[in-house]
Symmetry: C2
Subunit: 108 residues, 2 copies
Amino acid sequence: MFDLFGCNFDQLENTDYIIEMLEKLVEILDATIISKAFHKFHPQGLSVALIISESHVTIHTWPEDNYVGIDIFTCSKSFDSDKVVAYLKENLIFEKIEMKEILRGQIC
Amino acid sequence: MFDLFGCNFDQLENTDYIIEMLEKLVEILDATIISKAFHKFHPQGLSVALIISESHVTIHTWPEDNYVGIDIFTCSKSFDSDKVVAYLKENLIFEKIEMKEILRGQIC
């Protein structure tokens, strides 16, 4: 899970850009999008959930707080969090990123 | 996040039951489902992502390992994990449950 602080309000409010960014992130993970749900909140905020071949990727934006929360739930053995951080730095404007890696079920 | 071990294969393979169980869980949380994505894997496994008014609820099942991973990402101040555990115990067959509570962004 990745928490991004000091994000750019206008970038976060660009729904098409954020969804496309997340879809490209799935490519970076060498995964495949199987199903998608999203909602644009008013006056601001966006939630996207992508079910992928290896579980899910979600994003929630709080533009008014310049905050973004991204979750990647994956059973891929080749998951590389550094690659994700590098991708986010290239594609999102923010001041600080915090990452937490949580081991789940230990079955995959 | 909730990890359930020793689950029942047949119950996990009942797609309608699992989706309905998750939707009722959202009611227990006093939240509202805004958007839904799901996929039934073959030969087994199910992934569901519900975008709710307060963020998201996801489930991934691995019936072959009798394992289920449930994530609740919420900015609700009234979130009660004991209520969730009680609900899961009533509605899913499993031997062991592990819960992890992770504080995110600290903005809501």
